[in-house]
């Protein structure tokens, strides 16, 4: 399995981590796994919420040293 594509959105207030993920989802092929890095606690909630609505797959959602790391697979 290839490594997750890191979306380093630490310190991103605008466009913000979720929009950075959507940018990646729009431009990368189906099957790509993204790992979003966010310094915003809200990402741990709003990224999974969008992933569910848009029909993609949440792979992992964890916190490491104050950085929220959320892995998402593009499935369609």
């Amino acid at each position: 399995m290839s490594a997750a594509k890191v979306v380093d959105a630490r310190g991103s207030f605008c466009p913000g981590p979720l929009m950075e993920l959507i940018r990646g989802i729009r431009q990368e092929p189906i099957g790509t796994v993204f790992e979003v890095w966010s310094s915003d606690r809200g990402s741990a909630k709003d990224i999974p919420e969008w992933v569910k609505k848009a029909g993609h797959e949440l792979v992992e959602n964890k916190e490491e040293d104050g950085i929220y790391k959320i892995q998402v697979r593009k499935v369609k």
Binding site: G11, S12, P15
Partner: protein
Amino acid sequence: MVSNQLARQLKAEILRGEVEITVINESDTHVYQPLFLYMAFDQAVPEDAHRPEKSVLSRHVKLVVGNAERVEREKSVVLMSDGQEIPYDYLVIATGSRPAPESIPGLVEGGHIFYTEESALKLRDALLSFKGGRLVVTVAVPHKCPVAPLEFTLMAQDWLNARGLGEKSQVVYTYPIGRLHSLEPVANWANEVFPARNIETHTFFNVENVDPEEKTITSMEGETLSYDLLVAIPPHMGQDVIHRSELGDAGNWIPTNRHSLQMDGADNIYVLGDATNLPISKAGSTAHFEADVVAANLINRIRGGRGSARYDGKVFCFIETGHDQATYIKFDYEHPPKPQAPSEMIHLYKLAFNKMYWLSAAGVL
């Protein structure tokens, strides 16, 4: 801005023939893009946004007008489409981004944008012949000037009311994430203002396709909306020259160090403005603050320093809020934005900045 700052501060080196600064631009006309928003409402015309590129540049900077075919890193040259090779010791890439409405099926045929001069004028004419109905503003990702969608929506509502079409129309605004703007204070403010101005909103809406026959748009999330006039904030891409040069990712954005603004893996290439892959606003102010850092580092390195000035992620945006008022917001990597109350004075300052921009481009402001 970078080259003008370099020309001013390295004037002695340039006059001694030790330093040469070349700007490559595809046109001999410099265009101030923020006026496209006003052109859509017939409040500005193309002439207002144009100046000869030469007039904006220091006379100590050499201007090459033409299309860059690609950057050849192994030879340290920019290859032009006419075959000319322009060598560099340091390269600054500020190629910006371009709207990519073609990446959403049906959008080019069924909708409007205002992110180019030509499209803004086409939208102006569509607005002038609009007889009322559902005016849908849909926001795609990534896009340039993150406040323009809000400004357009509020200005459209004002415009319809002023023309007596307010009662016969419904302005609709869709946004990709779960609130009305990525900046939380702006979203909170819009949460109060949009319902008060009878603007219908849909969040978690990422337009996937447009049906020009049925006049509907459908989102990735499975929602379909009807429209009479569709105005899209289209997804953007990095420029094709980045793709041809194999410098970017799948969206032609260049991987860039968030502090040094050097291209990843390249000591002598700096990237600024929309061209980077950084998770910050694609806005004029971003490029402005980045340009200060790039210019400082280049001047320092040319004079024997290490070029260690760092960009802190600073962004500053004016926001037109309709009713002849505006507000502003600023933030960086470490400091979130704080809300400011809209006022007429900030609106007037924003209008003034539309003129002051030329001082900024000159590297003075």
